[in-house]
Subunit: 422 residues, 2 copies
């Protein structure tokens, strides 16, 4: 016989065993519920996208170094989506005449980036994307940040657990224009401050120097607010923070060095951070991207949105003891004293199933003692041994495994009992 | 400005707009609920798999012509999973010492095959895989077929709507051995009868001729049942059909030409078909594969499972008028007479959201008449115009858009009202 195959998954991706998946899908269920109360509806698309849609206006780092791009058997270039926004813009543009704007849409799914696997970074991760399309800045920006806040709240996080760092690309652009930056200087400067948090103060001081004019760079200009245009844009950001505060959202702070990696942002940008510095990576973020949809033709459609990744989110929930419990385990184990009892036990199990109970049926010849041990190992709370006596009679004994207490119950009352207690 | 990008998705895959996704995810929710009552728990894995796991024991047609396989930036060969079973076998083998057998697992997710797109066939489709691992033939086979049956029942299908065609690879093997087929003849013969339903009777007669011995081929031998070993295996299939019938499953029929494409099946194999011949493709199918897990090392672990694809399933549900309704639309639209009312309206919307109501907030300066038209277009059943009077008072007027009837209601009673009627 040949060498056995390796049981490892592909490098940098995860296998989700049932308990892992129950936890992650519990998080998604909570997020879906919150988003639906905001009137958002879920859409989906294939992870296989035409490669060209990432090449015109996204993060150059991602396109050049981090995409999974290959050529199919028909010579088409395919990219496994590294993010959802270009797909969203494509879908919106395709039906722009039929759709009722504004669109309130979200999508939860996997994204792919060829990165070096490390804490908080994998080659496949799950992301929740939430977008409000067809409304200009102002109320729409406030809604998107409110929703990001509500999602964390609904997962059990309080305002002390996370911070929303808010900035405006427009503000940065006005400041860069006030210092007469060329296009090249603008993209170089944005890339620099996007990496600021990963540098020492010395390194940043050294790297910002070439961008200074008379000793002042755009960040310093924003902090000084001596320039009228810069101050005007700054006041707009402040107004948004005040509006959110009036809604009870008090953990939004202005941070002029928040830029986000993607090139397509045009207005506000924001990132969500854990207040516990053990998780230094952003938990999510987003911003306004008014030009992206029109890359697919037609007039620009204003849009704002955000995304939350699962890897850093799970770290955050674990740190704050907010991980949901596994709720997918069966509620009752139907054991059988002997093999001959299985047929009748399966019929009894069917009556419980038709009442919506999650039933695990024994189909083995294990002893009843071993079946009870098996039920305990599986975290199943109730056990019934269903033999010829139970098949012939009207009652069964239901055992609560946590306490080993047993109770006689009419068969037709088992479903209600389990529904109530399991 | 450069040419706009095309809005088409990649060839052969689908964009799911919210109404489309609500329908498909409604089907998945129904399937998940049914499977959980059988004690099955969901697992997941990345669609990116190491290419080698498909090359040893799966369908040769799929590996050679239909996989998406590429080389990553680190020179690893990656395949986008064309099916889930090899991944499942890998995951089970990786934790075989820790897991409590039997495993009752399922997974719902996308699969990828480079096929010529046509009715019922796409390059990306969703599949529900259900597997019972660690039990030999007999009760486990009966459970798996019962579950396939229950899934269709729970989607609203009756026994008149679909048929389960059952066969046994063992039976075919015994018949082929009785005629002393070589390995090459065996795989050639299996491939031939797998394609039987796509051929005319004449074509099949011509192609089976080389496999006849004294005018009889394995299928004819099975039909005759003159050979004792063949008849013994046939009786086992019959017993399974009787067992299912005793459970009220009456649409299982023996079909000796059902083989399934994959090479790894070792025992029963079955396929589910629409009784309406407009949908000639199998709606799903599966079988026993006792050897697959041990390809990853260790002793063989017996296993049986089945899968249902979404493309043919949606065709089936549409044909029989069983498609679920879209339930993701918001329940109420909060309109605003003027822009100044938005802040207060958003706070009112927040109180409804905290009661779990799906609320769509107007953030535009459209007239109230246009907002009502907008709500109708979005299939939102209720509408409230929230102006300064409503903000100051205790009551609002709630409009039922289907009838245009209006009702005055205390603000704090709106959530309960909408929950009850929307």
């Amino acid at each position: 016989m040949s060498e056995p195959l390796s049981t490892e998954p592909y490098k940098g991706v995860r296998d989700f065993y049932p308990a892992d998946w129950a936890r992650l899908s519990g998080v998604f269920t909570s997020i879906r519920t919150t988003l639906s109360t905001w009137g958002y509806q879920e859409y989906q698309a294939s992870p296989m996208e035409r490669a060209e849609i990432y090449e015109s206006k996204t993060s150059e780092e991602i396109v050049n170094e981090q995409t999974y791009t290959f050529t199919d058997r028909g010579d088409r270039r395919v990219t496994l989506r590294p993010e959802m926004t270009p797909t969203l813009a494509r879908m919106v543009s395709a039906k722009r005449r039929e759709l009722a704007f504004p669109l309130r849409w979200f999508s939860i799914g996997n994204r792919f980036r060829y990165e070096r696997p490390q804490k908080g970074r994998l080659r496949e991760f799950y992301q929740t994307d939430v977008d409000l399309i067809g409304l200009p800045e102002g109320e729409a920006d406030a809604e998107i940040i409110s929703i990001a806040h509500a999602v964390f709240n609904s997962l059990g996080a309080s305002d002390a657990d996370f911070t929303i760092q808010l900035n405006s690309r427009t503000l940065l652009n006005v400041a860069m224009n006030a210092l007469s930056f060329t296009d090249e200087e603008q993209s170089g400067y944005l890339a620099l401050i996007d990496r600021k948090k990963k540098m020492s103060a010395e390194e940043f001081a050294q790297k910002r120097a070439p961008f200074e004019r008379d000793g002042i760079d755009p960040l310093a200009l924003i902090e000084a607010r001596t320039n009228l245009d810069v101050d005007g844009e700054y006041q707009k950001v402040l107004l948004l923070i005040q509006k959110l505060s009036a809604r009870g959202i008090t953990n939004v702070v202005f941070d002029p060095s928040t830029v986000r990696g993607f090139l397509y942002y045009t207005g506000i940008v924001f990132e969500v951070f854990d207040t516990n510095t053990e998780n230094p990576r952003a938990l999510g973020g987003g911003g306004r991207y008014d030009g992206l949809v029109s890359l697919f033709g037609g007039d620009p459609i204003p849009a704002v949105g955000f995304a939350i990744g699962d890897v850093t989110l799970l770290d955050f929930l674990a740190t704050h003891n907010l991980l949901p419990e596994n709720t997918s385990a069966p509620q009752i184990y139907i054991g059988t004293p002997s093999k001959e009892d299985i047929s009748a036990a399966v019929l009894f199990a069917a009556t419980l199933r038709s009442s919506g109970i999650r039933v695990f049926s024994n189909l083995t010849e294990k002893s009843l003692g071993d079946q009870i041990k098996d039920a305990v190992k599986r975290d199943i709370p109730y056990f019934i041994a269903y033999g010829s006596e139970e098949a012939a009679g009207k009652k069964v004994k239901i055992k609560e495994l946590a306490t080993s207490s047993e109770k006689s119950l009419e068969k037709k009352k088992v479903a209600d009992y389990v529904k109530k207690y399991a």
